[in-house]
Symmetry: C2
Subunit: 179 residues, 2 copies
């Protein structure tokens, strides 16, 4: 990492660099990533009102010889986070009500490996620590769904987001709101 | 499953029921799920031009006592699929260029468990079969990223979607388009 690389992004968050000193795409917002790589300046961001949503839409330009695929940006830390929570909550919502022993151990192993391979390194390490301090509750779907909701709330708290009322986890991720 | 339950949804796809005879949320589009549960009729769908996008936006109504969270619908098969591919491609894009043996075996195990616990049962079983017939290539990031792109294309082909040109997998999921 050279001295010319910024320590803090336009979002106000610290910019995360990888082991080669390059800004990490999966660990920073796209806004901060583009700022750190010199693709966008403070001035541009304030003048154009650039934010994660406008940036995330990426380019409308199609990739060569394609009718359907545009040059979309790789996922930033927020898109990756939203996608991953959607998968994890939906997995918990479809976990058996009365799991067998091999289903419990397989899910435990899945969460452990997940915490090693998740592409945002600091998120992965936070999740690994959370699992160490709060063992996944895998005796039933209800237990696991609530555990996952609480794990997500730990991250919400760190990001100064509102906590989700875990009494509603099943409406949000399994049953919907009108039954 | 009773005789009154439809076999085919408004999308033209077969409706998937779970082991209790209830329509499976994670296995059907939201449109087909609502049709199968009697929440929407053929007439409503054609009159209002209902489609997955308008349906997926869910309700604007907040959940009780919350300032931030609306009564969003649980993920349907498409949202779950998009989220999961975002995670899987990003995992492959951040896999080591020169993985150690334990990283290879951990990733292999992750993909196997993934194919057991993925909430859409028929997607999970297709993925399990794909892995059996096309062993994950885990000797390098390039190998794994391309393998994942090809696995995704197998699903694209089944859904009559355009195949993605895997020569661009790294632009799409790691480097972006302008470097």
């Amino acid at each position: 990492m050279t001295n010319s690389q910024p320590q803090e992004g336009l979002s106000g968050r610290k910019i995360v660099y990888d082991e080669n000193g390059k800004p990490c795409r999966s660990c920073n917002t796209l806004l901060d990533f583009k700022f750190a790589t010199g693709k966008i300046s403070t001035k541009q961001a304030s003048v154009k009102g650039t934010n994660a949503t406008t940036l995330n839409s990426g380019s409308d330009e199609k990739i060569p010889h394609s009718k359907a695929y545009v040059k979309a940006d790789p996922a930033d830390v927020e898109r990756l986070g939203n996608s991953s929570w959607t998968l994890l909550h939906t997995i918990s919502a479809n976990y058996p009500s009365n799991p067998r022993e091999h289903q419990k151990s397989e899910m435990k192993q899945f969460l452990q490996i997940f915490s090693h391979i998740y592409p945002c390194s600091w998120c992965a390490s936070d999740f690994e620590q959370y699992i160490r301090n709060h063992a996944p509750k895998l005796d039933s779907r209800d237990d696991f769904g609530r555990w996952m909701c609480e794990a997500h709330n730990e991250v919400n708290a760190k990001l100064n987001k509102e906590l989700f009322d875990c009494n509603f986890w099943k409406n949000r991720w399994k049953d919907g709101w009108d039954e």
